[in-house]
């Protein structure tokens, strides 16, 4: 297995990696020497920069300013102060969607990471068919979430496979109209979103596991460390960057869930599956209440930024790799 180790050692300085170990310094120093030529002209960055400025900054700030108006897209926008915010905090639909969004985001974060890590650990080394299994398990990631949602809409349908299997296995009274009952609909949405994203978490964890030297684990095993001890004290600290990336990614994805709800339940039954994204969409683009929609969007943006900041703080690199 030393072959794969050498490979990581020689490729990682090129990747300016998260793990520039002490042994790799000489390679890295070559990159630091002061360059003798001027590389490109600064205005080459202009098209990209202009695109980012207009779409990610100007548009976002303009959109945020609508939050304090009664803008509807037609005619004048009047300044209404915090009226939209007062309204949204007493809007049952928005408050319910806030709870649903939190449930989905946390459930999504926990489930994709646990299943993704388990699959990555199982497929990291040893299995003969590991490359084949990685390929097929990643497949859901490249499919469109709309298509995937419809597959599951059928699975959860009254006459769908799930109920049919329950009948066939002798549990006919466990049958439900899964997407039409408030208790099960939100969980169904969560399952669909998780199903599609396990493969993504898996490949990121696999990339993280690839840098854990097998020798280290074997040495620990010789010293009598059990599988749990090795996982907690060797693997976990070393895949810290992968954990940080995966949790950030799954948290923001989980908070933004929209497609699955739109395709499977459209927020129903009785708002049980409404998320902030679907409520924003409905108010902004169906009711054409740009001002009110912008106010909810602003709250949504703040929620995402706070969640991302908390999460980055919790999974920050505590110096194990330095």
């Amino acid at each position: 297995m030393s072959g794969s180790l050498e490979k990581t050692a020689t490729t990682s300085p090129k990747k300016s990696g998260l793990n520039r170990g002490p042994g790799l310094k000489p390679g890295a120093s070559a990159l630091k020497h002061k360059s003798l030529v001027v590389h490109g002209a600064w205005w080459w960055a202009f098209p990209g920069l202009a695109a980012v400025l207009s779409v990610h900054y100007v548009a976002t700030f303009l959109g945020a300013s609508y939050a304090f108006t009664d803008f509807t897209g037609i005619g004048e926008a009047n300044f209404t102060g915090v009226e939209n915010f007062v309204r949204l905090f007493s809007d049952y639909e928005v408050m319910a969607s806030l709870g649903n969004t939190a449930f989905l985001a946390i459930g999504f974060l926990v489930a994709t990471n646990i299943f993704g890590l388990l699959l990555a650990l199982a497929l990291n080394r040893g299995l003969k068919t590991r490359y084949f299994l990685r390929t097929v398990l990643f497949l859901p990631v490249v499919l469109s979430s709309i298509s995937v949602s419809y597959i599951f809409k059928y699975i959860f349908a009254v006459d769908g496979p799930l109920n049919a299997i329950l009948v066939a296995t002798g549990n006919p009274d466990m049958q439900r109209i899964w997407l039409a009952e408030p208790e099960t609909a939100l969980v169904a949405v969560l399952i669909v979103a998780v199903w599609q994203n396990i493969g993504m978490a898996m490949v990121i964890y696999l990339a993280g596991l690839a840098i854990v030297p097998q020798e280290l684990e074997e040495a620990a095993a010789l010293d009598g460390a059990g599988i749990w001890k090795r996982f907690w004290h060797i693997t976990m600290p070393m895949i810290q960057p992968a954990i940080a990336i995966n949790t950030t990614l799954s948290l923001t994805t989980g908070l933004k869930i929209f497609d699955q709800v739109k395709a499977m339940t459209n927020g129903g039954p009785f708002g049980a599956t409404d998320t902030l994204s679907t409520v924003i969409y409905r108010n902004t683009f169906e009711f054409m209440e740009y001002g009110y929609g912008a106010a909810i969007s602003l709250v949504f943006t703040v929620v995402i930024l706070i969640a991302a900041a908390i999460q980055l703080f919790l999974t920050r690199d505590r110096g194990v790799n330095n």
Partner: protein, 278 residues
């Protein structure tokens, strides 16, 4: 060192069982698409198709709704091509210049672009919509491509920058000594060296654009130029439960991306995980 023991075999079997359960939804997808309407109604949903037929595919490809399906396929491809090309060209030069220049301005600019990855698009959508309307970009695949270039630019710059930063400058210096202009150095020396990052940007952006539903729903919904996900969404609607036909449409829509994925699967998986590593 890695002996294949009985325990490994057991692990292999367990993972296979997990994989089969995980991928069972795809079995239902193909199975129902191959069942005739009557067989679909009369047999339990999990039962394999006894008389597999392609009549559902023939129906959805031949009926009057098929023209929107072809149009959606075409539009999605056009938008992906425009978007990916723009992201490669403008993203790579921007990242390269910002990484190589050490001024404070370029550093600040770089981080400003990165912030765009975290901020959700929702707030900006109405202004972008109004802006696109003013510029005449609304409802056309080309306009949609331009919008994607702007929306995904931070991701492209981030991926290219990670790679460009680790690139040794010697090649550029050699080209410079040989008298190559800045532009020529970039096109003939730097850009080819960035090829792995280009692959990552192309696969990630390609997948994101191809599968995106939210943005085209807003910008192309109700227009004459929907993308594939929007076509599927309006085809199914709220009450269509002819699953045999719906699933045939889904399979037709999945075929292009699945073929591309299976051909370049290594590149895809490396792209998604490696892009994050750098």
């Amino acid at each position: 060192m890695n002996r294949y023991t009985k325990l490994t075999l057991l692990r292999e079997i367990i993972v296979w069982i997990a994989a089969i359960i995980l991928l069972s939804p795809l079995y239902f997808l193909v199975n129902i698409a191959l069942k005739s309407r009557t067989e679909g109604v009369e047999t339990p949903a999990y039962m394999p198709a006894m008389k597999p037929t392609f009549e559902n595919f023939a129906y959805v490809l031949g009926s009057e709704t098929s023209s929107t399906l072809y149009l959606g396929l075409f539009n999605s491809m056009v938008i992906v091509v425009i978007g990916v090309f723009g992201l490669i060209i403008f993203g790579s030069v921007a990242a390269y210049v910002l990484v190589r220049r050490t001024s404070k301005f370029s550093k600040v600019t770089f981080y400003m672009i990165l912030v765009g990855i975290v901020v959700p698009a929702q707030l900006g959508l109405v202004p972008i919509y109004i802006g696109a309307q003013t510029l005449g970009l609304l409802g056309s695949p080309a306009g949609m491509g331009v919008i994607y270039i702007a929306m995904l630019m931070p991701l492209s710059v981030f991926l290219y920058a990670g790679f460009a930063r680790a690139l040794p400058t010697e090649y550029e210096e050699a080209a410079n000594i040989d008298g190559a202009s800045k532009l020529r150095t970039y096109i003939q020396v730097v850009f080819p060296l960035l090829a792995p990052a280009t692959g990552t940007v192309a696969t990630m952006a390609g997948i994101i654009i191809w599968n995106d539903f939210f943005t085209p729903l807003i910008f192309l919904g109700g227009s004459e130029n929907p993308t594939l996900p929007v076509v599927i969404f309006s085809y199914v609607g709220e009450f269509n439960i002819e699953w045999n036909n719906i699933f045939s449409v889904l399979i037709i829509a999945m075929i292009p991306i699945t073929i591309v994925y299976l051909i370049f699967q290594k590149k895809f998986i490396q792209g998604f995980s490696g892009g994050i590593k750098s």
